[in-house]
Subunit: 266 residues, 6 copies
Amino acid sequence: MTQGATDMTIMRCEMDGKLAIITMTNQAKRNVLSEAMIDGIIAGLEQASQAKARVVILRAEPGCKVWSAGHDVSELPAAHRDPLGWSDPLRVVIRAIEEFPAPVIALIEGGVWGGACEMALACDIVVATPDSTFALTPAKLGIPYNVSGLLTFMNVTGIHMVREMAFTARPISAQRAQALGIVNHVRGAEEITYYCTMLARDIEKLAPLAIAVMKEEMRVLASAHSITPRMFERVQGLRRKVYDSQDYQEGVRAFKEKRQPNFTGE
Amino acid sequence: MTQGATDMTIMRCEMDGKLAIITMTNQAKRNVLSEAMIDGIIAGLEQASQAKARVVILRAEPGCKVWSAGHDVSELPAAHRDPLGWSDPLRVVIRAIEEFPAPVIALIEGGVWGGACEMALACDIVVATPDSTFALTPAKLGIPYNVSGLLTFMNVTGIHMVREMAFTARPISAQRAQALGIVNHVRGAEEITYYCTMLARDIEKLAPLAIAVMKEEMRVLASAHSITPRMFERVQGLRRKVYDSQDYQEGVRAFKEKRQPNFTGE
Amino acid sequence: MTQGATDMTIMRCEMDGKLAIITMTNQAKRNVLSEAMIDGIIAGLEQASQAKARVVILRAEPGCKVWSAGHDVSELPAAHRDPLGWSDPLRVVIRAIEEFPAPVIALIEGGVWGGACEMALACDIVVATPDSTFALTPAKLGIPYNVSGLLTFMNVTGIHMVREMAFTARPISAQRAQALGIVNHVRGAEEITYYCTMLARDIEKLAPLAIAVMKEEMRVLASAHSITPRMFERVQGLRRKVYDSQDYQEGVRAFKEKRQPNFTGE
Amino acid sequence: MTQGATDMTIMRCEMDGKLAIITMTNQAKRNVLSEAMIDGIIAGLEQASQAKARVVILRAEPGCKVWSAGHDVSELPAAHRDPLGWSDPLRVVIRAIEEFPAPVIALIEGGVWGGACEMALACDIVVATPDSTFALTPAKLGIPYNVSGLLTFMNVTGIHMVREMAFTARPISAQRAQALGIVNHVRGAEEITYYCTMLARDIEKLAPLAIAVMKEEMRVLASAHSITPRMFERVQGLRRKVYDSQDYQEGVRAFKEKRQPNFTGE
Amino acid sequence: MTQGATDMTIMRCEMDGKLAIITMTNQAKRNVLSEAMIDGIIAGLEQASQAKARVVILRAEPGCKVWSAGHDVSELPAAHRDPLGWSDPLRVVIRAIEEFPAPVIALIEGGVWGGACEMALACDIVVATPDSTFALTPAKLGIPYNVSGLLTFMNVTGIHMVREMAFTARPISAQRAQALGIVNHVRGAEEITYYCTMLARDIEKLAPLAIAVMKEEMRVLASAHSITPRMFERVQGLRRKVYDSQDYQEGVRAFKEKRQPNFTGE
Amino acid sequence: MTQGATDMTIMRCEMDGKLAIITMTNQAKRNVLSEAMIDGIIAGLEQASQAKARVVILRAEPGCKVWSAGHDVSELPAAHRDPLGWSDPLRVVIRAIEEFPAPVIALIEGGVWGGACEMALACDIVVATPDSTFALTPAKLGIPYNVSGLLTFMNVTGIHMVREMAFTARPISAQRAQALGIVNHVRGAEEITYYCTMLARDIEKLAPLAIAVMKEEMRVLASAHSITPRMFERVQGLRRKVYDSQDYQEGVRAFKEKRQPNFTGE
Ligand code: NI
Ligand code: NI
Ligand code: NI
C-alpha cells in the first residue's frame, strides 16, 4: 500500500532462520497503529515474504505495558467520512496478515486496544502473557465499526462474547480469552518468547505449500458470509449516519482532550 | 421517508377504480428527480396503497418530450460524499416501487435519462411510445453508480446491453429496448394510455394477494446476488475514489455550466 | 418418485435410437398435470434413462389444442396447506426434468397454461408451433407460486417479461416468446416433429458425459440465488397468508364452477 | 406485532435511568411464552425504545425456579400446520430482541426450556446464576425446529454442543454454558441483579449509535448463512412431514397429559 | 501471467489516441488460442493499460473467415487432468478482459468457435458482421466446461439459448445472436471498423473512473452466483469423471485425426 | 458408494435395541481409513438405517492406542491428482455420517490422526477418554486439504484453534478439546462405554423425525458458506499446485519410508 522507507524507530523485522520476527518498538506512543506503524508492519511482512519465511511472529518489545493502543485517533477523519474505509491503514494491515502465505503468530504482552485487538485476532495463532488484556473500544469513540471487521471477531469466538466486548468496551483477561478460543496459549512473560519460537520451529518443519493453501481456504471460508447489495447498502447508510453524528465528533474530541465523552445519541 | 405536504405542481395522483395513476407534471424542469418530486411519487404510492389500488401507472403528462431527466444535479453532493447513498432520493423511490404490493406500470413517453432510467426499469411492466429513448448517463457526470442500482439493470436484460448503455451513455430506442426485454410493449402516443388502462383492468381482476407475494418473491430473488463483506467494502473503496476524484467535480460543474466535461481520469 | 404402473392412456414413451419421445396423450382432459400424468412423465424419464437415451422430446399429440392445462385443480389442497410444497407433483416433475442427465426438448403445440408453463420452460430447449401460447396463471386462482418456481422463469428471460406474465396471466404468443429467448425455435406444425428430431440427431452425436455435466453445472448456477433463512421464512409466511386467504378458496371454487372469481384481497 | 393493553400480571417494564428492566412475572405458569407474555415483552421493548433506553435487562422475578418454560403448548397447532411459522409468537419476539437498537442482557435464574432457551440466547449478553439450566426440547414434543431458530444456537457456540442440546434435550448447567460461550458470566443469585446493573451502567456511557450499528451489523452477519430456494423448499418439505406425523400429535398430547410420549417415527 | 517477448506474427497492438486495437493476425492457424496467442492478447491489454487507453477493440484481421478457432487442441492435457483449470490460458485471458479497467469491444468477423466464443462474449460490447457465427463446442471434444465459464454465457443471455448452444454445438448466426442480446450491433464488413471506432470515440469522452468502477461492479455482480463448497466439490467430481473418461480421449484424438468422434458415454 | 461384502475383520456392526454400534477392529493397522474400512463403516451405517436405529456409536475397540490413523497413505495418488476429490473414501464417509438420519456419537479412545480427526468431528457428539488426542496432519504429508473438509473443523470450534491444529499438526488433548467445544464429554476408559450408552438411551426416547430434520437443517446451515465459482476455481488452482509439487511427493515418500520429510516449498 505504501512504499517509501520504513521508520525503524517504530518497528523492526528480523529473520531467525525461516522465522521472521516483527517487533513494534514505539513504546513511547504505545505502538499506536499510525500509518507509519502499519507501513512498517507491512514492510516487515514483505521482507518476510521475500526471505521465504515459513512463519512470522508479530510482537511488541518485552516488558511493554501496551501491546498496541490501536487506531491513531489523530488520523481519523474529522467528520462526514467513513473512518474505516477500504484503504484505512487498519483495514490494509488486517488484509496483509490474512493474505500472508504463512502462519502469523501474535505474541501478546500488555494491553491490546481497539483496532489492535482486531489486528491481534486476525493473526493465525495468539499466545499471550497472563496479564494481557483485550478491549474492543469503538463504542468509546463513537466509531461505526465496519462489517468485515466485526466478522474477524465473529470467526474467532461465539457471538455473546463478541457482543460483550463490542457493547461494553471492557477489557477481557488473557485467561478468559483463552477459555473462549480467542487466545491459543497463555505463557508467562519469561517464557513466552521461547514458547512461540518452539511453536514456530514445529511449523517450519511442515510442508509450506500445504499450510499456505489451507490458510487461504480458511480465509475464504471465514469471509463467506455473503449479503445482498441492498442489505450492505442499508448497513452502509446506517454507518454513515453514525460518522455524520455529533457523537462521533464528541467521541474523537473527548479522546484528544483526555476526558469522558458525553454521548447524546445524536 | 418524507412527510409534509406534497407539491402538487410537480406531480398528481388520481384513482380510477382500483387503478392509481401517478403523473409527473413538472415539465418545465423536465420532471427532474428532485427530492420534492420523489416525495411526491412516494406520497402517490402511499395514497395508492391506502386506497388498496391493485395496480399503479407511473407516467409523465401526455405529449412531454422528456419523461424524466433523472437526478437533480443541483442536489448532488459537491465532493467527497457518496452521491448514491442509502437515503438518496433516487434510492428511496426505487425501493418504494419495488416494495409496492401491487404492479407498477411505467407508461413512457419521451426521453428517460440517468436515474430516471433506473426508476422506469424498476417498475414491473414498461410500456413506451415509439419515440421514447432510454439513456444511462452516470459516466457523463463522473458519478460512480451504486451496486444495487446496476443490479436493477442486470435483472432486466443481458449484460452486453447493460454495459453498452453504461459505458457509452447513448440513448437506446424503444424498439431496441423492446427487442431485448427492457420494454414490454411499444404503443403509439395516441393509444398508449388506453393500452395501459386495459392492461391495468386485466390485472385488477386477478387475485391481489397472489400477485403481491409473487412480486415480493421476485424482488427477493432479483436481489439475491450476494457478495462477501470484503468484496463489498473493496467496491465501496473504489466508488469512494471516484467521488473523491477531480473528474467527479468536473462532471457536475460542466453539467451546470452546460458545457462538455473534460475528464482526465484523475 | 412414484412407482406403480403407469397409465398408458394418458402418456406413452417410445425410443427412436438414442432419442426418447414422451407424449402426453390425455387430450380429453387437456393433458392436465394430475398426479397420474406426472407419474407417467417421470416413468418415461426413468425408462429413457435406463435406455441411455441421449436426448428426450416431451410433447403432446400432434394437432392438440392444449399442450397441457397445468395443475389439476381438483388435486389442490382445499385450504390452509401450501399447494406447491416440495412433494407436489409439479415440483417433482420440474426437478426430474432439471436433473435428467441429457437434454430434454419441449415440443410445443397448443396452449401451455399455469404449471405446464413452468414444466415447458424447465426443459432445456423449447421448440413451438406458431400458434402456441404460454400463460402463467396462478393469479387467476389465487395461488402463491413458490420461490424456486418463479426462479425457473427468471432464468429463462428478463424480469419485465416474467412480471407481465405473472401479473396479467395473459397468454403470450410463440413469436414473442421466441423474441425474448423463451422459445428457441418456431416451426410449423407440419415440420416441427422433423425439426426436433433433427435437433436430437445432432445432440446424439456429441459427447454425452460432457453434455450431462454442463447441464448439471447450469442447473446449479441457475439455482444459485441464495437467500437467508430469515428472508425465506418471511416469504414463506407471506405465502401462507395467501393460501390461508378467502381469495385462495374463492379462486379454486370459481375455477371448478367455471365462473369468474371475485377476489377481495382478503 | 400486537397492540392492545398489556397484561401487567404476567410482565412489567420499568425504567431505571437509561436502563429498561423487563420482568416476566407469571411464575404461576412458569413464565410460559404464551401470546400474551410475548405481547408483553414486545410492549416492554417498545416502551424501552420510546424512552430511548440504552440497555435492556430481560429477567424473571428473583428466586424463581423456572426462568421460562418456553412455548405455550396449548397454543401449538393441533396438526398439519407449521408450529414455527413467521408469525408464531416465539419467532416474533426473537426478531424483536435481535432488532432492538440497544443491547439486551438476559438475566437468568432458574430453568430455561425450549423456545425460552432460544429467546435467552438471542439476547446480546447472558448472565446466569450458578443453578440455572438450559434445555433445548423440541425433540421431546416432536416439533420440527425452524431453520433460523437453529441458526440462533449455531451462532452462539460450536455445533457439537448445539447438537447435543438438540438431540438429547438434556439441560446443561450454567457453568458448562459459560465454558462454551453461551453464558457470559455466572453470578450468585444474591449479586446477579447488581452485577447486571453495573454492566448496564458501563454500556450506558458509551456511544449508543455506534453500539446500535454494530449490533445490526452482527445481526446481518449472523444471519448470512444463505441457502438456495431449492434447498430451503426441500427442508421445508422435510419439516412438513414432521408436523404431519403421528409423532407430532403424540408429543403434544403426551405433554398435555403429563406422560411420557411414545414415539414411533411415523 | 506469462512474460517473455510477444510473438508479433500472431497478434499486434496499436494505439489510436485513447483507443487500443488488439488484432489477432495468425490467420494461418485460424487465430487458435494457443498459449502464445493468449500471451499476446494479455501483453496487448497490458500495453493498453500503460498507455491509459480508455477503450480497447479486440479483433481479427479484416476479411478473415475465422475470428478464432478457440482452444489449441494440441495443448490440451492428454487425460486425467482438468483441461480448464485456473491457469489454463483461456481462463487467464477471460479474467484479463473482465478485469481490464476500461471497456473492451469485440469486433467480430467470421466464425467464433469454442473457447473463443467465451472470449468474445466476455468482452463488454460485441459488434459483428452479418455472416459471423458463434459456436460453443466442448461437447464435440468431450470436454467438461468449467463452472465460471458457463456463467459467462448465462450472464449474456437466457438459459434456453445457452443450453441450445452448449448441447447442440450448432453455430448461431449474428442476427440471432443480436436478437437475444449476445451481439450488440450487426454491421457490414465494410463499415464495422468505422462503426466500432465511433463507438470507441463516444466512450473516450466519458469519465473513465466512473466507467471502470461500473465495469468492476458488474463483474462482481455477474459472478455472484455463489455455491456451497460441498456443491462445488460435487460438480468438480463430475467434471473429473468426464476428463477421466474414454470419450474425452476419443474426442481429442478424433479432432487431431480430423474425423468424427465416436462417443460411447464411457 | 461401495457394494460388495464387508470385511468383518476390520469392522463390525451390532444392534443394541435401537442403538447401532459400529466398531473399527483393525488395530493391527491402527484402523487406517482404507477403502475397505470405509466400505465397512458405510455398510454399518446402512445396516443401522435399515434397522431404524435411532442413534449410532462409532468407536474403536476398548483399550486401543490409536482410534484411527486416518488416510491410508498407500492409497493416495502418487502425484498430479487431487488426493481429496469427491469420491475419495474419506469424503464419502464424512458425507455418510452427516447425512445419516439419526445422531452419530463418536466414542474416542486413543489417538485420532489426520482424516480420522475430521471423521470424528463430523459425528454429532464426541465423547473421549482423558488420554485421547486429536491431530490434524495434512501439513506433515504435504496434502492440500479440501475446502469442505476445513469447513468441518471451522463449524466445530473457533478459527484460532483450527489454524493451530492445521498449521502445527500438534496433537491436542481431550481436555483442551473439551474446553473448546470439540469434545462434548471426557469420561474414563472404564466408564465411557456406559456413558455413551446412557446418552444413546436418552436420545432413543425422543422423537426421531424431529431429530432427523434438525440434524439435516444444521447440516445445511453448516455448509452454507457459499463462494463464487471464480473464487472456488482459484482455490482449486492453488490446491492443484500443491498436489503437483515436489513436496507432495516427498511427503508421501517420507511417510512410507518412515523418515522425516524435507520440504522445500517447491
Ligand atoms: Ni458462518
Ligand atoms: Ni441472478
Ligand atoms: Ni442469476
